[in-house]
Amino acid sequence: MGITQVLFWFLSILAILSAILVVVSKNPVHSVLWLIVVFVAISGHYILLDAQFLAIVNLIVYAGAIMVLFLFVFMLMNLNADTEPQKNRWLKIAGVVTGGALLLVLVAALKKADMKAQLAEMGHGNIGLIHNLGAVLFSDYVVPFELSSALFLSAMVGVVVIGKKD
């Protein structure tokens, strides 16, 4: 096993374990913290694929900004075991069954997807580097890129309008 494989298995196991802990944790703040660990592990995967820009943006935007907002909300809401409504046991079982069914559908749908043609380039690809990413974003995908920035702008304006006092 090379160092890349060791890192791959380590990161994968870390990601899956902490993803399970996100769901299992009783305390919502702990769940959010485990979710941050998931994001860090996924960023590690991006780095293994040489997509450094994506990795660091994932860290800055998701783990650094969005999760902080989640934490704000959970820390201020004062969620305790006694105030949180306890779900019916049957509801939980129903949730597990439907989630499992969704997994089955996904597996069935993705089984035929041809992955062999698109092998991930471990450690030597340069598609994810910021130079190539920028060139692609501003040439091939310029319309979706501009559309999504217009969407972000309108969302920001909306926030300011809602946030105004009067």
């Binding site: 096993m1 450094q52 820009f53 660091i56 943006v57 800055i60 650094g64 902080v68 934490l71």
Partner: protein, 358 residues
Amino acid sequence: MHLTLLSIDWLLLIEKCVLILIIISVSLVIAMYETWAERKVAAFMQDRRGPNRAGFGGLLQPMADGLKLFMKEEIIPTSSSKFLFVLGPGMAMLTAMMTSAVIPWSSHFHLFGRDVSMQIADVNIGILYIFGVVSMGVYGIMIGGWASNNKFSLLAAIRGASQIISYELAMGLAIIALLMITGTLSLGKMVEQQQEHGLYNFVVQPLGFLIFLVCAFAECNRTPFDLSEAENELNFGYHQEYSSMKLGFYLFAEYINMFISSALMASLYFGGFDIPFVNDAAFGAHFGQNPLAILQVVSLFGKIVLFIFFFMWVRWTIPRFRYDQLMNLGWKVLIPLALFNMLATGFIVLLKAHGWHF
């Protein structure tokens, strides 16, 4: 299974480990003596003497303080969540240390027939890496404040976190203008460019530097932005419940952050390890690479010390902002200014690309 693990460049690994060890110990020593310098500077500004009992000029005072922090009783509040309570200061310290990985401390040494680079990792996203780590630094404050199970700690933590997030935006926008000019994210390359031009980025981007400086103060939670430790409103801030070395970690992390952000500002805007008024390449050719590299380290640390002094100078001169003033400054002054700076820089870069001369 064959042992391809052994095909790693072990020399490189050892070299990097030694470098990491050196930089971390240097950061710790600098942080220790920053506490001493802070008290001395404060004393100087207020016409006092400052610490002068332990050692010559109080030079042993940081050791005594450190010993005191280690010896104090460690109290973990019973109603706190214990693991997170310990994790908080650990996170603060870890993120403070991690940022030093992409800063170029000198060009390179020539030792044992190898060129030993003085930058731990020259990743091509350099400056973004620092932003990523800094945005992780929020968690040290938030986790600590929440896990203490104290209203004042929580309020202080939320204040601190929202302040850091707000000022990160303006900081990022100020950096974008700089990136347009340099065309690279790697700190090492930025320093090299400044060496070649002989013109520091500070001259090209004065407004950007000013915005970056203000944001660096806010990111380090230093006065006038230390709203998260405002004693008159929040007792002691987010580390209210902490004692012993866990408190020491929080305080230390602040000083390390100050050191690293000084190094960052020196590298981004003041030529990094470039020796001022000296042609480094010619000097290296004349006196050899190793003396040059040593002098470059000295030069960078000179710049860092000046910045650290500036941090302290401001702390003991300017009073703290009110919270709404802080948010107004961040969102209504710095971000529009940074946006304007970005547009103006982009305009000029575009004109230059089309053959205009200034």
